[in-house]
């Protein structure tokens, strides 16, 4: 019995602890994810800029030719979000989407703006889905997954805010540790859970 415990159960249990520690006690790949955030944001902004002068033909009032494609689009009603009659309003919404791309690049309210950019880009480019490519797909999937990650730990306004706030941290504040954007070390046994737990 002790043979099984020492050579099977114990190693398995150790792996369980190591795995949980890797997943729960630290954040991983924070530099890579921050670089990814900036690169994906730049790609989306670039796409919006290169098509800016063609926006009405592709997705606005001049895109009547794409209506048959829209009727069979798997995204359903999402493709109607940019289907506004006023060209001025359409341009305003287009520029708001560019603003979201900029917000992701500079890391402002990163999680929310990343999600909105993912939905907004899908709503726009799917208005003329045959003009799209696999780049649209990978960008959408990437942005969606980035919502579940901490992509603002570095080179972002969110990280700057946390740095500024942590110069005078309210002791044991959950809010502070929740928005912790910098790679904080969790020293075991070092203080109450709320101030050491990273997210």
């Amino acid at each position: 019995m002790s043979l099984v415990r020492d050579h099977v159960i114990q190693p398995l249990n150790d792996w369980n602890i190591r795995g949980q520690g890797w997943l729960l006690l630290q954040q991983n790949a924070l530099y890579g994810l921050s670089a990814t955030r900036i690169l994906v944001g730049v790609a989306m902004l670039g796409l919006l800029l290169t098509n800016f002068t063609s926006r009405h033909i592709l997705w606005g009032t001049g895109s009547f030719w794409a209506e048959p494609y829209r009727e069979v689009n798997a995204f359903g009603e999402l493709v109607d979000v940019f289907g506004v009659e006023s060209p001025a309003l359409f341009t305003l919404m287009y520029m708001a989407l560019m603003g979201l791309a900029v917000a992701v690049i500079i890391g402002w309210r990163t999680r929310a703006t990343t999600l909105l950019l993912a939905i907004g880009m899908a709503a726009l480019v799917e208005r003329a889905s045959p003009m799209g490519d696999q780049g649209d797909n990978i960008a959408r999937i990437g942005l969606l997954l980035m919502v579940l990650m901490n992509t603002s730990a570095h080179w972002s306004l969110d990280a700057d805010d946390v740095d500024a706030a942590s110069s005078a941290p309210p002791p044991g504040s959950w809010a502070r540790s929740r928005t912790c954007g910098t790679p904080c070390r969790c020293s075991p046994g070092g203080g109450p859970v709320s101030s050491t737990m990273c997210r």
Partner: protein
């Protein structure tokens, strides 16, 4: 009873990890492996979707996989391996325009909108997506037609100027053999887009001459010669022409026509 790792080896990394984990909410720890399992299942389904057909995918059911993937996780194996074009296409349009004074109906010449789109791409490292409007529509037409038999292709050449073009869908479906419903539906979608593109172009090019009554489009493909063939370019290979009947011009507002106009100028001096 004292467990070994908390007594003798209090400072081992494993013991430290174990102690740190005790501070976490129990729920977070309990959810760890179920969440990892969820990620693995998601990855597995993506794998089933992008891989060629396998018994594993058949066991799960292609429809069930599609339901999960579409539309947000939609992707293709070519996501990291873009396929360079091997076929050049043309997408030509013409119209029947009625002179408002004499009532004469004039057939215009054909214009190839792909010439315009080539002009958008040439020398431009960041072309707008307008460079693909007619090209991709021609691609869609060709792909929808590829499985059609002779009888179905003959039906495509029929004109639908007064009768609704939707009747073409029934005609094509009534033919024995050939392309099935899914291909026919794809053709009808591409046909509607092609008719609208043709109308938008016709209104801007010939709209001043009178009322655009009917429009027609035609397409062609020609393969790029292989790399070894240094003598010939794509212009030297044989065109395969595809013909379609006349269609009623789409009803467009002044604003729609005007906002489509810049597309026809983007390719420079192509007309």
């Amino acid at each position: 009873m004292t467990r070994p790792e908390t007594s003798g080896q209090a400072d081992s990394p494993l013991a430290q990890t174990r102690r740190a984990l005790r501070h976490l909410p129990g729920g977070a720890r309990a959810l760890t492996w179920p969440l990892v399992a969820l990620v693995l299942i998601h990855t597995l389904i993506i794998g089933l979707w992008v891989a060629p057909s396998t018994p594993a995918r058949d066991a799960v059911g292609q429809d069930r996989v599609r339901e999960y993937i579409q539309p947000w996780f939609q992707q293709n194996w070519s996501i990291f391996a873009p396929n360079p074009r091997r076929v050049a296409v043309t997408f030509e349009v013409r119209a029947i325009v009625e002179d408002p004074d004499s009532g004469n109906k004039v057939h215009t010449d054909w214009v190839d909108l792909i010439d315009n789109e080539d002009g958008i791409v040439a020398g431009n490292p960041f072309p707008a997506r307008t460079a693909k409007i007619s090209r991709r529509t021609a691609d869609r037409l060709h792909s929808a037609i590829s499985d059609m038999n002779t009888e179905q292709r003959d039906w495509l050449k029929a004109s639908y100027t007064d009768t609704p073009v939707d009747q073409l869908r029934e005609r094509l479906a009534d033919v024995d053999g050939g392309a099935g419903t899914s291909d026919i539906n794809r053709y009808m979608t591409a046909d509607a887009a092609a008719t609208r593109i043709a109308t938008g172009a016709a209104e801007n090019i010939w709209g001043e001459d009178g009322e655009v009554l009917h429009v027609q489009y035609r397409t062609s493909t020609r393969p790029a010669p292989s790399w070894d063939d240094e003598e010939r370019t794509v212009d030297d290979t044989t065109r395969t022409e595809r013909e379609y009947g006349w269609r009623a011009a789409t009803d467009l507002t002044e604003e729609e026509i005007a906002s489509f106009a810049p597309y026809l100028d983007q390719g420079g001096d192509w007309r």
